[in-house]
C-alpha cells in the first residue's frame, strides 16, 4: 500500500474501526514507513487531546423552553375541530403561559442582552399563542408590552421598537 492510500485508513486504524484484513495491510505498511507511523502516533495524541475539551450543561431553562415551544404547536386535527374548543389547546396554552411567566421571572438575573433575547423569545411564543385565538382576554397578558400602534410616531424616526 502507498502512503497516499494510507490517508483514508489512518484515522479508522487509530479508532480501531478497520476490518481485520485492512488492519493487517495498514500494519504491514506502518512497519516499513516511519512517516506514516509518526502520523499514527500524532493522530492518537490529537484524539486524546480532544478528550480534554470540557462539556457544558444546558441551562436550567432549556427544558422549560422546549416544552413551551412544543406546547405552542398547533394541534393537528380535522378542519371541523377548529370550531370546537379543544381542552388540549387550552392545556397547552396554560402550560405555555406558565412557562412564559416563569421565563419572565428569570429575567432580572440575566444581563441586558440576555433579557433582550428572552424578550424576543417570549414575543415569539406569544405570537403563537395569538394564533390559537384562545386566551385573547387573559388578564396576565395585560402586563405585557402593548403592540406599537400605527399612529406611533417613534417608529417613523428610526427608533428601535421597544417591544421587540
Amino acid at each position: 500500500m502507498s502512503c497516499s492510500r494510507m490517508e483514508n485508513k489512518i484515522l479508522a486504524y487509530v479508532d480501531g474501526r478497520l476490518k481485520e484484513s485492512e488492519r493487517l495491510q495498514v500494519e504491514k505498511h506502518l512497519a516499513a514507513c516511519g512517516a506514516c507511523q509518526l502520523r499514527v502516533n500524532e493522530f492518537r495524541a490529537v484524539t486524546s487531546l480532544l478528550d480534554e475539551v470540557p462539556q457544558i450543561a444546558p441551562s436550567a431553562a432549556f427544558d422549560v423552553r422546549v416544552r413551551a415551544r412544543v406546547a405552542a404547536e398547533p394541534v393537528q386535527q380535522g378542519w371541523w375541530a377548529w370550531f370546537t374548543p379543544s381542552p388540549r389547546v387550552a392545556f397547552a396554552a396554560s402550560l405555555l403561559l406558565l412557562a412564559t411567566v416563569w421565563i419572565g421571572y428569570e429575567q432580572p438575573q440575566l444581563s441586558f442582552e440576555n433579557s433582550k433575547e428572552a424578550d424576543a423569545q417570549m414575543m415569539q411564543e406569544m405570537q403563537v399563542l395569538d394564533d390559537q385565538d384562545v386566551i385573547s382576554n387573559f388578564d396576565p397578558l395585560k402586563d405585557l408590552p402593548q403592540p406599537v400602534q400605527p399612529e406611533d410616531q417613534t417608529n417613523q424616526t428610526g427608533q428601535p421598537n421597544q417591544t421587540m
Binding site: E7, A45, L49
Partner: protein
Amino acid sequence: MARSDVQLMLDVKAGDEQSFELLLQRYRTPLVNFLYRMVRAREEAEDLAQEVFLRVYRARKDYVPSAKFTTWLFRIATNLALNSVRDNRHQRMEVSLDAPVTMDAEDGDEKPLDIAEKHPNIEQYLVEEARKKMIRHAIDKLPEKQRAAVLLHKYQELDYGDIAKILECSESALKSLLFRAYETLRVELAPLVARQGK
C-alpha cells in the same frame, strides 16, 4: 429495559408525549455541546438545540424509521448549525477584527483576582487553562464542515456511514475530510502533541 430511540419516536408519533420527554432528556446535552462547538456561542447553541427538538416534534407524524434516529437528529442539528455559521460569518469577522487577540469570550467572567482566590495553585491552573484554550481554538478554527465531521466522529461516536449521511457526502469524501481536519489539528496542536507522545 430502556426503549430504543426509534421506539420512543414511534411512540411520540402515536401521541405519547412522555416519550418525547425521554428523547429530550437523552439528547439535550449532546446536542447543546455539538451546537456550542459549532456556533461558539452558548445562547445561540441552546436556541438551535431547542429548534432541533421542535423540528423533531413537528415531523413526528411523518416519521419513518428509515435511518438511525441519531443520524436524523444530528442531520437536523448540522444543517441548522451550518446555516447559522454561514449567516453569522460576516458579522463575526467584523467582531474578530476589532477584538484584541487575547480576548476569548469563552473564558467567562473570571477576573484575575477571582482566579487567584479560587485556585491556590495558580500556575498549574493557568497552564491547564491555556492548554484547554489551545485545544478549543484549534477546533474552532477548522472549516465548519471539517469541524462538524470531527465533532460527530469524536464526541458522538457515529460511524463513518452515518456521518457521511449527515454531511451529505460520500463515505470516502468524509474520510478525506476527517484526514484533513486531523492533519490541521496535529499541526495546530504540535507543542501539545509532542508532549503527549512521550
